[in-house]
């Protein structure tokens, strides 16, 4: 077969395949066949284990063993014990703060990446993406070097005479450490959805608004935010939910300060009280679901009202 023949044959097969796919996706069976593999993965790896955890969370735990039966005792314990209450509040608080920090840092980054274009834009994209290629654990150890008591940041501050050894800020093994580390980890998840939507907003809309007398703040609140809302809301939601559930960074940078995922892991691995650990997991899933649902409600409301 000559090169040309093979190309036309390939072209024909390709054409045929896409027409079959098009025809299929119009039928009921075709639709399910196409999303089937994804559905299967989600069902087996996500929903099925979650159902197992859910059922565990109602099992009584007595004398170091899981008992048959059904009880709400683990949920009651989680919500009435100060330690767990505080941990849950701290987990949500950290996720909220990280989300706010990442929006404040991420929006200008995304804006600059799109509007500056050229090598500047590419540099921002690469700099934002690059950390994703490095393992979480390695990145956390990087923060150790920067943040610890005699680390780069504190020793620089001491050199500059801004702080002394006695009153140097503690940046590691507390909430601050977790927030700094997580904000770094989560930044790309905020930046990229906003970059995507920013590409769809013509620059002359901003110029038109300025021309009509809008200052930078008004352009941001009346033009950019309403038009970038799909990307902003995706970024905020992903950042919040993933921060809520993140384990590695808080475990390494939090020291004795724990968040729920760390407590869940410790309970699973160092005690045999799986039912209680499962209940904590379900509470975390519940919080995330509640936020997602409430969030979508609010967004729908905002869409109805329109941008002004």
């Amino acid at each position: 077969m000559t090169r040309q023949e093979s190309e036309t044959t390939f072209g024909r097969v390709n054409e045929r395949l896409s027409s079959v796919l098009r025809k299929y996706s119009d039928t009921q069976f075709g639709k399910y066949a196409l999303i089937g593999p994804t559905l299967f993965v989600v069902a087996v790896l996500m929903i099925f284990p979650t159902i197992i955890l859910l059922s565990y969370s109602f099992n009584p735990y007595d004398q170091g063993a899981i008992q048959a039966g059904s009880t709400l005792a683990h949920y009651v314990r989680a919500f009435t014990t100060t330690l767990y209450q505080d941990t849950l509040v701290r987990t949500i608080k950290i996720a909220v703060i990280v989300t706010i920090i990442d929006f404040v840092l991420g929006f200008p980054l995304a804006y600059a990446a799109v509007r500056k274009g050229g090598w500047m834009g590419k540099l921002i994209v690469i700099a934002t993406l690059a950390p994703l290629t490095i393992d979480l654990v390695v990145r956390s150890f990087g923060w150790f070097i920067l943040l610890n008591g005699t680390g780069v940041i504190n020793s620089t501050l001491m050199e500059l005479g801004l702080v002394t050894r006695g009153n140097a800020p503690q940046l590691l093994f507390n909430e601050t450490g977790i927030i700094i580390g997580l904000s770094h980890v989560m930044l790309p998840f905020m930046v990229f959805p906003i970059i995507n939507v920013m590409h769809t907003i013509p620059h002359d809309l901003e110029e038109a608004a300025q021309n009509l007398g809008a200052n930078r703040l008004t352009v941001f609140t009346r033009i950019l935010v309403p038009l970038a809302l799909p990307g902003i809301s995706a970024g905020i939601l992903i950042t919040f939910v993933v921060s809520l559930a993140s384990y590695v960074t808080p475990a390494l940078l939090g020291g004795g300060v724990r968040v729920i995922p760390v407590v869940i892991t410790e309970t699973f691995t160092s005690t045999s009280n799986w039912p209680f650990a499962s209940a904590l997991s379900m509470i975390l899933v519940g919080v995330a679901l509640l936020v997602i649902i409430a969030y979508q409600r609010v967004l729908k409301e905002m869409e109805g009202v329109g941008g002004v």
């Binding site: 809309l205 110029e207 608004a209 009509l212 009346r222 038009l227 941008g307």
Partner: protein, 361 residues
């Protein structure tokens, strides 16, 4: 500030240059626009006309020079504090707002009351003939309607000057012709000073009080449409505006006359002298007539040639005539009694000395 003839000067560019790296997009441009005047910036793409306009809006900062608005130096005033109303080529309507809210946007920034804003919206929609469109979504409007909304939004804030960047460029010919008329009527009614960017010479000739022809970042000529067409200052202007026949030959001065020698035939040129750097002699196609071979007339310029092609265009007949050094275009009007020449026919071209122009190189 007053100009020589007493009219107020609304816009003044003084030695304005804009550089992007090594590229001079606009090079030492100076001009005035009188109050109520419509000045068209005309030129091919890359000539710097849009950059010139955008500097007045404040979207670009001049590298050198000053720009004044109503006598005040606005060179370093931020965009939102400049009193200009801009109409963009793709209209730049806010897609998340209704037509009314688009128009209200500028009024809100100026601090108008709700009732006043509503009145003003109705008023400007009436001006652009879009009564009752306030609640419509701009995305659902036709191109022509979107253009009108963009115009309404810009005039609603009653700006000192209107800036229009190819406002009709995205529309088809018929709609463009109609909106050209409507825009100029509206502009004249409001008496609003307008800077109008276009690459379309017909549009510029139709709507402008004066045209500034731009090329490679510089203004080649700034004059009325008639002057720009009839007496182009440079070869570029003669070539860019309208159809032009450049005549090749030896240009010299004899007995106080400027003469172009084309292969032994002398043609008188309507010029006071031969410029130092030479110049280009040209005649517009409609100024020439194609006569029978052997035609003579001492009072006009004549030149023998051969018809190579004929286009019958209804109201006129276009001939391509080989005159030896080059081929010229001749437009004969299709009046009663005109005899048509056939390709291959020998003819004599005749045109008045007055229409034999000299443009600087």
């Amino acid at each position: 500030m007053d100009s020589a003839d007493g009219a107020e000067i609304a816009i003044q560019y003084d030695g304005v240059t804009k550089e992007y790296g090594d590229l001079k997009a606009v090079n030492d441009v100076s001009f005035d626009v009188k109050d109520g005047e419509l000045l068209a910036l005309l030129g091919p793409s890359g000539s710097g006309k849009t950059t010139t306009l955008r500097m007045l809006a404040g979207f670009e900062k001049p590298t050198e020079g000053t720009i004044s608005l109503a006598g005040d130096d606005v060179t370093h005033v931020p965009t939102h504090k400049r009193d200009t109303g801009m109409v963009f080529q793709d209209y730049a309507l806010f897609p998340h707002m209704t037509v009314g809210d688009n128009i209200a946007f500028g009024l809100k920034r100026q601090g108008f009351e709700k009732g006043e804003i509503q009145e003003r919206i109705d008023e400007v929609l009436d001006m652009v003939d879009l009564q009752g469109f306030a609640d419509r979504n701009p995305r659902n409007l036709s191109g022509g309607q979107q253009q009108r909304v963009a115009t309404a939004r810009a005039i609603a804030i009653e700006p000192e000057v209107m800036l229009m960047d190819e406002p009709l460029g995205a529309l088809d010919k018929k709609l463009r012709d109609q909106l050209e008329v409507e825009l100029t009527e509206l502009q004249a009614d409001l008496g609003i000073t307008t800077l109008y960017v276009t690459h379309n010479q017909e549009e510029a000739l139709t709507i402008a009080d004066r045209i500034a022809v731009m090329n490679e970042g510089e203004i080649e000529q700034i004059a009325s449409p008639i002057e720009v067409y009839e007496e182009p200052a440079t070869e570029f202007v003669a070539d860019f505006i309208g159809d032009t026949n450049f005549l090749e030959g030896d240009l010299h001065e004899t007995d106080g006359r400027v003469v172009l020698d084309i292969e032994g035939t002398e043609v008188d040129v309507n010029a006071a002298g031969v410029p130092a750097n030479g110049g280009a002699v040209f005649v517009r196609p409609e100024k020439m007539n194609a006569r029978e071979a052997g035609y003579t007339d001492e009072s006009v310029n004549t030149l023998p040639g051969t018809v190579t092609r004929r286009l019958f265009l209804g109201s006129k007949v276009r001939y391509f005539v080989d005159i030896g050094r080059n081929v010229v275009t001749v437009d004969d009007s299709n009046k009663h009694g005109t005899t048509l020449h056939e390709p291959g026919d020998d003819v004599v071209l005749s045109w008045s000395v007055h229409d034999t122009r000299l443009a600087h190189g």
